[in-house]
């Protein structure tokens, strides 16, 4: 989107996914049946949603490690709310989940903006705090399927035009993000802040505020996913989605979002998430130990980062030469 170069990056990732699917199909044709692919997509939907939020944050040179904890806390709160008030309509629940998530994102954002604490420290801290709060409010107890109201559980599974609501939400978030990133001043500001924060200041962009906005966005999406997750799996407890933040960051990195900020696209983040989702779903099917999944995801991250590093390095050298001659 930004450069033909990144288009090719997405093409490469797209081709890798296709090759993966063909390889799987050669032995297990059932895997690529439309029905099954739809299932894989539905399974990957939470990762897609969170990866997009994370992408906004990473674009501004930050990182949000608290997304999974945010998801779990929001999920727990709405599940508890549901046990107390089973009649609460789903739209209310959605609004509450998004608002709670956004609030937690705001806490991250304000700490980064106003106190200028490094984002990795802030979100590492809030990640632990949010998990701790779940324990406090639930006393470590689980909320199980029979305690949740049927409508609460049914919403993400409801099928519209052949796809579950969960999948549709992911699709809408992707579309919304494409518009946000490429068609709004805020989206542009994400790139400017990450690409060159000093220059962004001189252009009249408030760097801290923009970063804060990215955190709120990421938090809101984590809150939304919190409800969907708890409802889909029909269970809420302290450790749900434990370690999921790393998968989210991995999806972004594989999708070519530069950890140094300023570079990346919605398509990249989406493909990165899908790549991980397919690997995760395919391995059990073709009878490969799930431990291989970790190895494959890990290798994919390193390859993607190596790709980034080399492309950035050549760029750096050219700039240095100019700087040198400027002196």
């Amino acid at each position: 989107m930004i450069q033909s170069f990144f288009k090719t990056r997405e093409v490469i990732l797209g081709v890798a996914i296709l090759v993966l699917l063909i390889a799987i199909a050669s032995r297990f044709p059932a895997f690529v049946a439309p029905r099954n692919l739809a299932n894989v997509f539905n399974d990957t939907a939470p990762l897609v949603i969170l990866a997009l939020g994370q992408m906004a944050v990473i674009l501004t040179r930050c990182i949000d490690l608290s997304v999974a904890a945010n998801l779990a806390l929001t999920g727990m709160i709405v599940a508890m709310l549901n046990t107390i008030m089973p009649g609460l309509p789903i739209p209310f629940i959605l609004v509450i989940a998004i608002a709670l998530g956004a609030l937690m994102g705001l806490a991250n954002g304000l700490l980064v903006w106003k106190l200028e604490i490094p984002p990795i420290v802030v979100t590492l801290g809030t990640m632990t705090v949010y998990r701790g709060i779940i324990f406090l409010i639930s006393n470590g107890a689980w909320i199980n399927a029979h305690e949740m109201s049927p409508s609460f559980k049914a919403f993400p599974r409801e099928v519209i035009l052949g796809l579950p609501v969960l999948s549709w939400i992911a699709i809408f978030v992707v579309i919304g993000f494409i518009v946000l990133i490429s068609r709004t001043p805020l989206g542009r500001a994400f790139y400017a802040v990450g690409g060159n924060p000093h220059a962004a200041v001189y252009t009249g962009i408030n760097v801290g505020q923009t970063q804060c906005a990215a955190f709120v966005l990421s938090g809101a999406l984590a809150g939304l996913t919190g409800y969907l997750w708890v409802a889909r799996y029909a269970v809420a407890y302290v450790d749900i989605a434990g370690g999921f933040e790393l998968e989210v960051v991995a999806a972004c990195v594989i999708g070519g979002i530069s950890i140094a900020g300023g570079i990346g696209s919605v398509g990249g983040a989406l493909l990165g998430a899908l790549f991980l989702g397919i690997v995760k779903n395919a391995l059990p099917v073709i009878n490969i130990s799930p431990f291989w999944q970790l190895a494959i995801s890990g290798s994919a991250i390193i390859i993607a980062v190596a790709f980034n590093a080399t492309s950035n390095r050549t760029k750096g050298r050219v700039i240095l030469k100019k700087a040198e001659h400027a002196q």
Binding site: T184, P185, R188, H198, G262, A323, A326, Q327
Partner: protein, 517 residues
């Protein structure tokens, strides 16, 4: 600190002709794409003597320091130490040959102790190959005592002031037994007392027989501590000799007396009504009592030495930093500028000096770089309109004669001069009333320079008020209608262009009295 005044007294007799240079450079040339930084330069340094290197900004002083310390390789020419030809392929080779540099901004390690800083890379070892901490601290103490520095070798470097950091750097130079010490504007950011201490230190180094290359813009200190001088101008050595045989005006003349080889656009100054008035602008640490006016169609030059506070004033005008006192009037209305956004909406824009850091946003294509501050006008109902952005970018980059393959090309792929054009186009697209250009032609090739000058003249002719911060004397004289000279955070003088000579500029910026001859 009282010891050894003896050495000081015999300095001049001691600088006799029998001394052989410990280091000589001959026919050194160095080119960068589009710029010849050094052209057949010669420089001799003598043991126990201070050689002052003087020259305007961009005369090649920094380049020669980098050649001497092994950071740059000369294209041609010979470096010899004690008559033996040598080359310095790396900084380490230069260090081993006994050359050390003490920079304006010291390059030491903030989170290591003073002793560790002095001995990093050559620390005394125990017989097990570990660092012998006790020995190291003891030796560090000895070295510090030798230069009369009252510094505890155990404290962390970051807890020291700049002057003390210089002392540590010098102790380090002594620890590797450097014979040649380069001091690059060592007093530029020091207080009066610290400056005196630095002079004492220079005398001590002299007494130890070190050859010192002292780079400075301050004439009083050159005449006070130097034994010899070398003048650079436009990458050439234009004069050298004993300091006792030269006068201040002669030095100034050598520095600036160039044939103007560049043509500046001719313009008839016809300033209109006043646009901007700055009254009593102060900043707690950077500048004080800045006041000036600016009229439509005028180019106001700001001249001064590096670190005189020119850019800092401009950044405050643009809302990047906050002044502690003072007011701005725009069109006779008091204006409050607290953020760059407010400055932009008042029609003031700032093209920063450091394009890489503050101007171009790499990763964004050219047209998005141009449209970034104008998104309010190019977007509609909160949505961007790329076609409008493209149009805006095309209009303004065409005016600036930008050479780029396509407007959706990454700005990082452009040359320095073309990046500068994009940054200027970005600001023109906001249709400003006042444009501040900070070193607009620094580091760009001659061709692009002429284009930028041409364009500045056009802007002024169209009624824009232009502030140009520049350290290049010809540019200041060639372009400005009026010139403000800043020194140490204050306005030192204001001149009309017609009654201004290069000598006056240099003298005012350096704080010298008027020439009486």
């Amino acid at each position: 600190m009282l010891a050894n005044t003896q050495g000081i007294e015999n300095v001049h007799p001691h600088a006799a002709q029998d001394a052989k240079p410990v280091l000589s450079l001959n026919g050194i040339s160095k080119s960068f794409p589009g710029v010849k930084a050094l052209s057949e330069v010669a420089l001799d340094l003598f043991p126990g003597q201070v050689t002052a290197l003087v020259g305007e900004n961009g005369a090649g002083k920094s380049t020669i320091v980098k050649v001497l310390t092994g950071i740059y390789q000369p294209d041609e020419g010979q470096i010899s130490i004690n008559g033996k030809p040598l080359s310095f392929p790396t900084a380490q080779d230069a260090g081993e040959a006994g050359v050390t540099a003490i920079h304006q901004e010291t390059v030491l390690f903030d989170d290591l102790s003073v002793a560790e800083n002095i001995f990093i890379g050559h620390a005394p070892k125990t017989r097990f190959g570990l660092i012998d901490r006790k020995e190291m601290v003891g030796k560090a103490q000895e070295l510090l005592d030798r230069i009369g520095a009252q510094i505890d070798p155990g404290v962390l470097l970051k807890d020291l002031g700049i002057a003390n950091k210089h002392l540590v750097a010098i102790a380090r130079a002594l620890s590797i037994d450097a014979q040649i010490v380069i001091m690059d504007e060592p007093t530029a950011s020091l207080s009066h007392k610290e400056i005196e201490e630095t002079y004492e230190l220079v005398e001590r180094l002299k007494a130890e027989g070190k050859a010192i290359l002292f780079i400075s813009h301050k004439f009083d200190e050159i005449f006070r501590i130097a034994d010899r001088y070398t003048v650079f101008r436009d990458g050439q050595m234009v004069g050298a000799g004993k300091i006792t045989e030269v006068s201040e005006p002669e030095l100034v003349k050598m520095m600036v007396g160039r044939s103007v080889d560049q043509v500046y656009p001719r313009r008839e100054a016809d300033p209109g009504e006043e646009v901007l008035e700055v009254v009593g602008y102060c900043h707690p640490t950077e500048f004080e009592d800045i006041g000036f006016t600016l009229r439509k169609g005028e180019i106001l030059g700001f001249y001064g030495l590096v670190g005189a506070g020119r850019s800092e004033v401009m950044q405050a005008l643009f809302g990047v930093t906050k002044p502690s006192k003072g007011a701005i009037r725009i069109d006779d209305q008091i204006a409050v500028i607290r953020t760059p956004n407010e400055a932009i909406s008042h029609g003031i824009v700032y093209v920063p000096e450091d394009r890489g850091k503050q101007g171009a946003i790499k990763g964004l294509p050219i047209f998005q770089n141009v449209s970034l501050p104008s998104l309010k006008t190019t977007s509609k109902n909160g949505f961007l309109r790329l076609a409008e952005e493209f149009k805006l970018a095309r209009d303004y980059t065409q005016r600036l004669d930008l050479r780029a393959a396509a407007l959706d090309q990454d700005i990082g792929e452009l040359s320095g001069g073309n990046q500068q054009k994009v940054v200027i186009a970005k600001w023109l697209a906001t249709q400003p009333r006042v444009i501040i250009l900070d070193e607009p032609t620094k580091g760009i090739d001659i061709g692009s320079k002429a284009a930028v000058h041409e364009f500045m003249a056009e802007l002024a002719a169209e009624g824009l008020a232009v502030i140009m911060v520049s350290s290049e004397i010809p540019e200041i004289l060639g372009m400005s209608d009026r010139v403000i000279v800043m020194r140490e955070g204050r306005i030192a003088a204001e001149f009309e262009r017609d009654d201004l000579t290069p000598e006056q500029l240099v003298r005012t910026a350096a704080g010298l009295s008027e020439v009486t001859s």
